[in-house]
């Protein structure tokens, strides 16, 4: 376990470096919510999910839906590190003609399971994939990553209701609960608390963890595999901008790219 955690920690650091570099190179993008999700995404792509980057359309692969599509940099970094496309291509983020669109486009980039960006829609798509697995008698798992601010969208709760109704035990929703949204703290803009209770009330198996501690992330994802006929919601407390001191807890780093000295400092901290 210790060795696995050490390897994942190093991989997450590499992914964070990619995030800083690619957003800086693009001159725009969303570093804060990408950095907060880096450990969760790393755990999924480098420990938990059944994948074959050479066969991105392998029918039995596990699926990951980035419902909080603005965190595209963390997904792209993980896909590149996992071998879906060359790492060098990360520098094309948001540029004309790039496969790395500002928000994920499933038709352009291999490994992207769903086009997202309009918040609140990813969980519904994940439900559909989980239903398809059941219809086809396949045992793949479906993961959806949502933001806590995103949980303000009504469609999230339509999907939550349906996932429990259809007993989608092959589905895991993870909420990257970093507590901040564009206009300020979620608690001040429009509180989503008590968020774990809301998922429980909708009939989900709920786990609450520290979303930066692999010692908690991995066991939670394992527990989700045997939730007894219920979908699992993992409410992961995270820090927006995690890993870059001047971005941590900073609401202004939701959608702003670092520049010059900031990039150097961020990369030094992540070295």
């Amino acid at each position: 376990m210790e060795k696995i955690v050490a390897e994942l920690t190093e991989k997450a650091r590499e992914i964070r470096r990619h995030i800083v570099r690619m957003v800086a190179e693009a001159g725009s993008g969303h570093p804060g919510g990408s950095l907060s999700a880096a450990d969760i995404v790393t755990a999924l792509y480098f420990n938990q999910m059944r994948l074959d980057p050479v066969r991105p359309d392998w029918p039995d692969r596990d699926r990951f839906v980035l419902s909080k599509g603005h965190a595209a940099p963390v997904l792209y970094a993980a896909l590149a590190e996992r071998g879906y496309f060359p790492v060098a291509e990360l520098s094309t983020l948001r540029k004309l003609g790039s496969r790395l669109q500002g928000h994920p486009d499933m038709r352009k980039l291999p490994g992207v399971e769903m086009s997202t960006g309009s918040l609140g829609q990813g969980l519904s798509a994940a439900n559909g994939m989980a239903l398809a697995a059941r219809l086809d008698g396949r045992d793949y798992r479906v993961y959806a990553l949502l933001g806590d601010g995103e949980c303000q969208e009504g469609q999230v709760w339509e999907a939550a209701m349906a996932a429990a109704h259809y007993a989608l035990e092959n589905l895991t929703a993870i909420v990257d609960f970093n507590g901040l949204q564009i206009d300020g703290p979620v608690s001040e803009v429009m509180s989503t608390e008590p968020l774990p209770d809301k998922w429980r009330a909708f009939g989900w198996h709920v786990l609450e963890i520290d979303g930066h501690d692999f010692g908690q992330i991995l066991p939670a994802l394992e527990k989700a595999r045997s939730a007894g006929g219920r979908p699992t919601a993992i409410v992961a407390r995270t820090v927006k901008g995690k890993g870059v001191s001047f971005m941590e807890h900073g609401v202004d780093w939701h959608g702003v790219a670092p520049k010059g000295d900031q990039v150097a400092q961020a990369l030094a901290e992540l070295a």
């Binding site: 038709r107 609140g120 519904s124 469609q155 349906a162």
Partner: protein, 308 residues
């Protein structure tokens, strides 16, 4: 003449196609009895999913099913499908070009007594503007069966507009539904009426009335609003020198707009659009509403006579 609602034909077609194709799945939002997806539900309960009164999630779920290789048909009333779930259709279906079919019933004012909240007069406009979307407005039961079959064959998003009221069966069993190909139902060199859906029957009656006055009006049935049969529209304009369109929809954004755009670019001729004149409907019997909102055969006749 035998009358069958297009929604009835839809329910039947789903069962027929579902029998031969296990990938077809059907979703509804608590209106299965009205949209007639209940027929599929009875026959293939494990491939039918009721999502409750939650249209946005229904469309998103269909997107996920399509991403995993299924061919989902989503049904609810047109006003809730194209209107309430517009963003889901745009973001999760049309943009990723997923193989989702939206079959929306109770379109137009012939919904009747339920009133304007349930009478979609803008759905064709909303669906037509979306890249990657094919838009079918079948005029009778035979065209509906053809449209559903074509939708299965098309690898991508399709919108099928269906009605509540019974409509005359216009075609024999030998009719071939070809997407994007207009159907000439009546020849005539004096005028052309281009119609879709419910208004095709009205247009044929109008042509009878005109014939009684010695005016030979052609009737061109456009069951595919997008992609539009540009050649057939231009040919009609060249042949008769003016065009009257007839649709159970706002004159903004639907068939009339599509024809006007085409003629403006290729062969401008005078035209009039019969349809909802930028207003919502209201409660009433379908025949009363058609009268009040100007969608009767007489209204089409008047439009033709204005341009003669």
């Amino acid at each position: 003449m035998q009358k069958i609602a297009t929604r009835e034909a839809y329910g039947k077609a789903l069962v027929e196609l579902g029998t031969g194709n296990p990938d077809i799945v059907v979703l509804d939002a608590d209106l299965a009895k009205s949209t007639r997806t209940i027929e599929f539900k009875k026959r293939f309960p494990h491939r039918f999913f009721d999502l409750g009164v939650a249209e946005a999630n229904m469309v998103g779920t269909a997107a996920g099913l399509a991403a995993a290789g299924k061919i989902p048909f989503c049904s609810t009333f047109a006003v809730f499908a194209a209107g309430r779930a517009f963003d889901q259709i745009r973001q999760s279906v049309a943009y990723p070009r997923l193989n989702v079919k939206i079959a929306a019933s109770h379109a137009g004012i012939t919904v009747g007594e339920d009133g304007a909240s349930h009478q979609s007069v803008e759905d064709v406009a909303l669906m037509r503007v979306l890249p990657n979307m094919t838009v079918f407005v079948p005029a009778d039961a035979v065209e509906t069966a053809g449209a559903v079959r074509a939708a299965v064959d098309i690898d991508g998003p399709v919108y099928i507009r269906l009605g509540r009221a019974g409509v005359p069966v216009l075609h024999g069993d030998d009719f071939k539904f070809v997407p994007g190909q207009a159907v000439t139902l009546r020849q005539g060199l004096d005028a052309t009426i281009i119609a879709s859906g419910f208004m095709v029957g009205q247009a044929l009656q109008a042509a009878d009335l005109l014939a009684a006055e010695g005016i030979e009006a052609g009737v061109l049935n456009i069951h595919t609003i997008k992609p539009l049969d540009v050649q057939a529209v231009v040919d009609a304009a060249q042949r008769t020198g003016f065009i009257v369109t007839a649709e159970e929809h706002s004159i903004i954004g639907g068939l009339g707009s599509a024809v006007a755009e085409t003629l403006a670019e290729h062969y401008p001729v005078p035209m009039l659009r019969v349809g909802l004149q930028d207003v919502f409907g209201e409660s009433g019997r379908p025949d009363e509403l058609l009268q009040k909102y100007g969608l009767t055969p007489d209204d089409i006749v008047n439009a033709v006579q204005k341009l003669l």
